[in-house]
Amino acid sequence: MNLLKLLDTMCPDTNSPEEKDRFYSRREAFRQFGDMSKKVAMAAVPLGLMTALPKVAKADTESLIGVLNYALTLEHLEYRYYQMGIESGVIDGADAAIFAKIRDHEKAHVDFLTEVIGNVLMGTPVAEPEFDFTAGGNFMPFSDYPTFLALSQAFEDTGVRAYKGQAGNAMENDVVLTAALSIHSVEARHASMVRRLRTKKGQDTVKGWITNASIGSLPSATQPIYAGEDNVTHGGVNVVNLTGIDAGAVSEGWDEPLSKDQVLGIASLFLA
């Protein structure tokens, strides 16, 4: 990053150890500005810095906007789903805190991505599509709680795979990549929680992690969400053969990506 190289060439113009430390820690803060967990106002620091970075080629910006608009489409779907679920009263009171938190995160993701696309990359954030969460009358998630939970799991596990599938496309921009990774792990936390909740309620036998390519008791329409999750070979290494650990456990230890087309195929079931 040129900005950091520039900072590296600067020396603090002082002999005071405190001021030197301040300079270096500020430089370190710049170095880590992909770390947005520092409760800084987004618009104030990382976004401002992003605009200060050398301009990437227009084509690269276009492709980043494309990736982020795809992510934003998924976040719109998730946010609307949880918002409607909460408004419908379908959620057990005991689980209200869990779904309020998930809804809040999806809302924050929508706002964050909208901000980055519109005010940093100067693109046009995709508008919220019309959703049909019954998938043509097949599901009743807002009147049947087990169905609500089943689709929640499906959406979260899809989200994890979708973000993972875009890491390579976000590589050219450290800030965007780091943000995407930081959303990706939040989606994984959601997925783990919802999966365990369904099993606790006796609706399934799934664990927080995905075993083989099992859809558990989810409707068969969710098969594409788990296709390929049974992979046990990474970087050319078959980890079952390497370790002697059973394939189920090895498959749980690595989550697999999905391509944009695969994800949009899944999401299209819920587009009005």
Binding site: D35, M36, K39, K164, A188, G208, I245, W254
Partner: protein
């Protein structure tokens, strides 16, 4: 929320002169040394440490070090009184995590081949393996640390295949972290708590040095991460 399980011991070798000066009693000489320029990438030998290496190999070794720590932790959990008396659900979770982390560890060792760092020594004397709360708090520390470490390292990975492998593992660590947190505070929002996720819905990231410092509470082998990428 500060994690009180993390007690930095400064075992991690500091690569830059400024920190070296802070840790030595040479601060008087410091001003003079700094006049020679301030490229803080220079090596100052303090004690022989295991170098993680540079570039992508360095990052893979960094991940390998963390997976070694996690695998050793769960292997020890399985031998303790907490596990022996744990509920069926918690036994299953701990057993799964032990297998996942062992698989991660052995995978990195194989992937790194000759470039792999040595087996690290660990010290878990601060953890009571007969105590549910002590084990779960330590597990929470390790899992949250792992997620933040992978999230922070991603931007420095050059090879897209390695980035994908890191991505495949980090979401599993996040699944672990959420489950452990839910065991500690069941049914609450803590599985994805505000202590690690900000107002933008982004999970925290940690830098190489933050993670190595935190890990040094339990990893007694000194690790040298000074050649890891910094831009």
């Amino acid at each position: 929320m500060k994690n009180d399980l993390i007690k930095p011991k400064a075992l991690v070798k500091k690569a830059n002169r400024r920190d070296f000066l802070k840790y030595s009693s040479l601060s008087v000489a410091g001003a003079g040394l700094l006049l020679m320029g301030c490229d803080d990438e220079e090596q100052i030998p303090i004690n022989p440490a295991v170098s993680l290496g540079s570039g992508d190999v360095g990052i893979l070794n960094y991940a390998y070090a963390l997976e070694q720590l996690e695998a050793a932790f769960y292997a020890t959990v399985m031998t303790g009184g907490y596990f022996a008396n744990a509920s069926a659900e918690e036994k299953q979770i701990m057993g799964d995590l032990e297998k996942h982390e062992r698989a991660h560890r052995d995978f990195f060792k194989a992937a790194l081949g000759d470039a792999a760092i040595e087996d690290l020594s660990v010290d878990f004397s601060s953890i009571d393996f007969n105590s549910r709360s002590s084990v779960l708090m330590a597990a929470k520390t390790f899992e949250d640390l792992g997620v933040a470490a992978y999230n922070g390292a991603g931007q420095f990975i050059e090879n897209v295949d390695y980035l994908l492998i890191a991505g495949k593992i980090v979401s599993v660590e996040a699944r672990h972290a959420a489950a452990i947190r839910d065991l500690i505070n069941p049914g609450t929002a803590d599985f994805a708590g505000d202590d690690i996720i900000d107002a933008n819905g982004l999970e925290r990231t940690l830098s190489f040095s933050e993670v190595l410092t935190a890990a040094s509470t339990y990893v007694t082998t000194p690790l040298d991460g000074s050649m890891l990428p910094s831009s």
